[in-house]
């Protein structure tokens, strides 16, 4: 029997702390991973001076940025300039509250859920909250009162809003198969049907993944931060900790996108081959370890893509989404609905 204050007070508090720390931890791992993997792909070594194989490099960067001067230009709009990094970070962390980390398990007679909040419309909420971070980007770009940040912010917003459409349309197919927008339920449905939706809906997965790369402003779609044209994009005028907030939020957004891909298309915390008896022994490994392994794979894919592809031109970026991805996802949706009723 657990005391009620532990169940109702302490555990939610611990969960809230965890939902702040977990993305930060993933961000740190991701920054290190990216620098090492890109170096490896380019035949270099990568950061290896601080800590074991340079694992403390992101800590050094963070501490350095924390003790750096915080510049606010004279002509900047102080209020908006200061609030936009917070907005970006806040919306991304808020979206993490609705991501389940694994199935709930029982300790004694208490059921520990590995999520902070569960909602029947969790999928919509995560998509909505992650699109809220657009505010921070555009307010930051506008408040800097400088041309490159403004151009970068406008580019970013156009890009994110355009790529939101194929994301919504492909997510619909998953919702259609799972008959639920509850993220936990979607994973459970994949367990029931015995197959990850990524194998049932390969087109949806591809379109979603391309759009996820574009929504997180990553290479090859990192036009808002293209340093050859826009200096550093919307955060050109930011220094010190505020810049670190933008930087961390971008990586947290990548973690969020990877988690969504894993939950929607690759069975969340389910072990591989959930339907086959022969592979049932894989279930001995706890669910959230599978989950983390899958997320790490997609984060690695992010880095791999970044190190492989050259940057798009902006008009081809917009052409890609409006002329290819949106029609493709519409047709995909119709085909999925049709097949579901025909078969």
């Amino acid at each position: 029997m657990m005391s009620p204050w532990l169940a109702d007070g302490l555990i939610p508090l611990a969960k809230i702390l965890a939902v702040i720390l977990y993305p930060m931890l993933m961000v740190i791992v991701m920054i290190w991973l990216e620098r090492r993997v890109v170096a490896w792909i380019q035949g270099r070594v990568g950061p290896n001076r601080v800590g074991y194989q340079g694992i403390l490099q992101p800590f050094a960067d963070a501490v350095k940025l924390f003790f750096k001067e915080d510049i606010v230009q004279r002509r900047a709009d102080r209020f908006l300039f200061n609030i936009s990094p917070v907005l970006v970070m806040f919306s991304t962390l808020l979206a993490f509250c609705f991501l389940p980390l694994g199935e709930s398990f029982r300790i004694g007679d208490y059921t520990l859920n590995l999520w902070v909040a569960r909602s029947p419309v969790g999928l919509l909420l995560v998509l909505g909250l992650s699109s809220i971070s657009v505010f921070g980007v555009i307010f930051g770009g506008w408040a800097s009162n400088s041309k490159y940040p403004l151009l970068g912010a406008l580019r970013s917003v156009v890009q994110v809003l355009s790529y939101e459409i194929p994301v919504g349309l492909t997510v619909l197919t998953v919702v259609f198969l799972a008959r639920s927008m509850d993220l936990v339920r979607i994973v459970e449905r994949q367990q029931e049907s015995g197959v990850w939706y990524g194998f049932l809906l390969p087109v949806s997965f591809l379109v979603f993944w391309i759009s996820a790369i574009a929504e997180t402003n990553r290479a090859p779609f990192d036009l808002p931060e293209a340093e050859s044209e826009l200096v550093a994009g919307y955060h050109t005028e930011y220094s010190g900790m505020k810049f670190a907030f933008f930087y961390m939020a971008e990586y947290a957004h990548m973690v969020l996108a990877s988690s969504l891909v894993v939950i929607l298309f690759f069975g969340g915390w389910l072990p591989p081959f959930p339907g086959l008896k022969a592979f049932a022994f894989l279930g001995a490994i706890p669910g959230f370890i599978w989950y983390l392994v899958k997320i790490m794979f997609f984060l690695y894919l992010y880095v791999w893509i970044r190190a492989t592809f050259p940057r798009y031109r902006f008009d081809s970026l917009i052409r890609l989404v409006w002329k290819w991805l949106i029609p493709l996802s519409l047709v995909n949706f119709l085909v999925v609905v049709g097949l579901r009723y025909l078969l």
């Binding site: 609030i83 909602s119 699109s131 657009v134 809003l161 927008m181």
Partner: protein
């Protein structure tokens, strides 16, 4: 507990609504409008209208408010529009909405419905979807046609008139 959260969101909504209509900088107004929209979404959650809250965040937060920001950036002017009209007597400006509020308030408060216990699952997402696509299928379709008309109309009204040639 729910009521405390409701009060928190309600206070945030009212505070940022006041800020929306009092800021002289339109960009600040938009920021506070975003805060209002998000707090109203929170209010919807406390009222168990989760789908509505999600739609509010997605459509209002991700769509409409961003449109506002875009328009302000596109028509960005250094000119600060002089506020407060002089032609209408101030007393009238204050009195009319206050009277209206009083009237609406009395009507609403006097005729407020008795709480109906009803079926417990009455607010489920599934019930909403079923009602939306059966009883309200026709309004739904009409709304879709309206959006299509708006799309075409907005593009038509806002297009650059190229026939006049370059300026």
């Amino acid at each position: 507990m729910t009521f405390a959260i409701f009060l928190l969101f309600a206070l945030m909504a009212v505070f940022s609504a006041v800020m929306v209509i009092t800021r002289t900088n339109a960009m600040h107004s938009v920021l506070y409008l975003a805060f209002t929209v998000l707090s109203v979404a929170g209010v919807f959650f406390t009222l168990q209208a989760e789908y509505l809250g999600a739609v509010q965040i997605l459509v209002y937060g991700g769509g409409i408010v961003v449109l506002y920001i875009f328009v302000i950036i596109i028509v960005n002017l250094d000119e600060v529009v002089a506020e407060r009209r002089k032609l209408v007597p101030k007393i009238f400006i204050f009195a009319w909405p206050s009277l209206l509020a009083l009237q609406v308030g009395t009507v609403v408060f006097l005729n407020r419905p008795a709480a109906r216990p009803g079926p417990e699952g009455g607010l489920e997402f599934r019930a909403l979807a079923e009602m939306l696509f059966t009883s309200y299928a026709l309004p739904f379709e009409i709304a879709a046609v309206l959006l299509l008309a708006v799309l075409i109309g907005a593009v038509f009204v806002a297009r650059r008139r190229l026939s006049r040639g370059p300026d």
